[in-house]
């Protein structure tokens, strides 16, 4: 596709204007992002400090830090990621390497796409009905982690599928040709070579999980629990819900709002770092393969 156009000036200024217009619109996205993040940095930066991150709340939620919600979030998200990564990678391996690509395969892919489109709040409902009530786990880290892991399954399955399919078919055949069983080929070649790509998927999923609010509302998040969680069967505070609580508490806006800004900044920074790292890694890997 020609990138440098012959310059016939008068008739083409319409083109140039259109191009400029779309460029402006496209870059406005960056401006908007900077505006949002910048504002949060500006207002939240005053509040965030090492102390803020590592100390628990005081005076209800009007002072102190966010250590407890932070720890709670990390607990739930990590557990959710572990469960989701295990199941998602296994399912991705099945779809990519071990299925006979027949009707069952198509059915499962259809279901994965369906699950991907279900709103997170519906996952929350399901988690409530199944894990919290029917299985009797109560509002707990375990219930929340299980709910979140289901939420992350579609992303992780697709990620694993792409990662495994991306390993060159020739290498897999070479391994088979040497008498490696399908499982041996999978572990020694496919999985080993797909590992970096898998990791980027996990990082991305972690970023998304940390920011989810709806599914944790009814399955794990506590409004105010000034103690670190001691067992997976307990509820815990979590960053996104803590932020929401601060926003809507209304009792002493002058004091809760700065806390809210600090919380928002910490949360968005975590998510940002994970998302950017995952995206950069993924695009770097793509480039390497296309050389």
């Amino acid at each position: 596709m020609p990138r440098s156009l012959p310059k016939r000036v008068p008739k083409r200024w319409g083109e140039a204007t259109l191009t400029l217009f779309t460029a402006a619109i496209s870059w406005s996205m960056l401006v908007a992002l900077v505006g949002v993040i910048g504002f949060l940095v500006y207002r939240g930066g005053k509040v965030v400090s090492w102390d803020f991150i590592t100390s628990p709340m005081r005076e209800g939620m009007q002072a102190g830090g966010i250590a407890i919600p932070l720890v709670g979030s990390l607990w739930v998200a990590t557990l959710a990621l572990l469960i989701g990564a295990l199941l998602g990678t296994a399912t991705g391996a099945y779809l990519s390497e071990f299925s006979s690509k027949g009707r069952l395969h198509r059915l499962i892919e259809l279901l994965v796409n369906t699950l991907a489109g279900i709103p997170s709040v519906v996952y929350g409902l399901f988690g409530l009905a199944l894990f919290v009530v029917a299985m009797g786990l109560g509002a707990s880290i375990l219930a929340g982690a299980l709910t979140l892991s289901l939420l992350s399954l579609p992303i992780l399955i697709r990620n694993a599928q792409e990662a495994f399919s991306g390993v060159s078919q020739e290498l897999k055949l070479a391994s088979i040709g040497m008498g490696a069983s399908p499982a041996q080929t999978f572990w020694r070649i496919t999985f080993r070579l797909a590992f970096p790509r898998l990791i980027t998927g996990y990082v991305l999923a972690m970023g998304r999980l940390l920011g989810e609010t709806a599914p944790i509302l009814f399955t794990v998040a506590a409004y105010y629990l000034p103690a670190y969680p001691r067992s997976p069967l307990e509820p815990t505070m979590m960053l996104p819900y803590h932020l929401y609580a601060l926003i809507t508490s209304g009792t002493n806006v002058a004091r809760t709002y700065p806390m809210a800004f600090g919380t928002a900044l910490v949360l968005v920074t975590l998510t940002l770092i994970l998302t950017i790292v995952a995206a950069v890694l993924r695009f770097r890997l793509k480039k390497r393969l296309h050389v």
């Binding site: 690509k101 055949l173 070479a174 088979i176």
Partner: protein
């Protein structure tokens, strides 16, 4: 007893028939060349012997395929074990993105039964047999991808040799290489004939004439002619063979 034998073998992929009643046999320590135009079924025939066609959907076979007198398509035969006895080298060199050493050791590690010392010995033997040892003995830990195309292919051959297969299958092993690497590998194959039986698919008739003991000419799924290479090229029996040979020479 023949080393390898096909008896009235017909192959289908779904409704499409790829081979029609092919019968062919060879004793051990021979090089058998399979030639013919594209799509004639020579690759399909080659892959019968390590059951790589099993992966193609709709694959069906009638007739018998025997190695050392054993029917390799019998229900009790484990294709995985079969492939450890039959080595394969592909058209495009496919080294794993590991070190040179690990590439050759790959097949040896599959069984988990050899000591590291033994593995090292076998790796060296295999690299020597494939005339690569002198070139890589000082950089065994380096990535296999740092080798040239010809070296990579010899590495793939070493990799196949390391597990001491009794039969080696090669699918156009030199068509992706330059003439010098090709010559080196042809020398290698003639040398390997002393210990191995080799079946090689080639689109290069001069290559077949140079290195093989027997040649088989396939066309549209049929085995047109099969005979000692010397006679095959100087006095082909079948008019089709003559037409093919003279069409390509000159």
């Amino acid at each position: 007893m023949y080393k390898l034998q096909a008896e009235n073998v017909s192959v289908w992929y779904g409704t499409h028939q790829a081979l029609y009643e092919v019968s062919l046999a060879s004793e051990r320590n021979q090089i058998v060349a399979l030639i013919g135009p594209s799509g004639c079924g020579k690759s399909t025939f080659l892959r019968l012997f390590n059951r790589m066609n099993d992966f193609i959907p709709g694959f069906r076979l009638t007739g018998k395929v025997l190695i050392d007198g054993e029917d390799i398509y019998a229900p009790h035969v484990d294709p995985v074990l079969l492939r450890r006895r039959v080595g394969m080298v592909f058209q495009k060199p496919t080294p794993f993105p590991f070190s040179i050493y690990e590439n050759v050791a790959y097949g040896l590690r599959l069984q988990n039964r050899l000591s590291e010392k033994l593995i090292r010995e076998r790796v060296e033997q295999a690299l020597q047999q494939s005339a690569l040892w002198d070139e890589v003995k000082d950089k065994l830990k380096k990535s296999a991808l740092s080798l040239s195309g010809g070296q990579q292919q010899r590495l793939c051959i070493a990799r196949a040799l390391a597990v001491r297969p009794s039969l080696i299958l090669m699918d156009e092993p030199t068509s992706a290489l330059d003439p010098i690497s090709t010559a080196k590998i042809e020398e290698l194959l003639i040398d390997l004939k002393r210990s191995y039986t080799i079946v090689i698919v080639t689109h290069n008739m001069q290559q077949a004439a140079r290195i093989s003991d027997y040649t088989a000419f396939f066309k549209e799924g049929l085995l047109i002619e099969y005979g000692r290479t010397k006679d095959f090229f100087t006095n082909p029996q079948h008019p089709e063979t003559l037409r093919y040979i003279t069409g390509r020479f000159g």
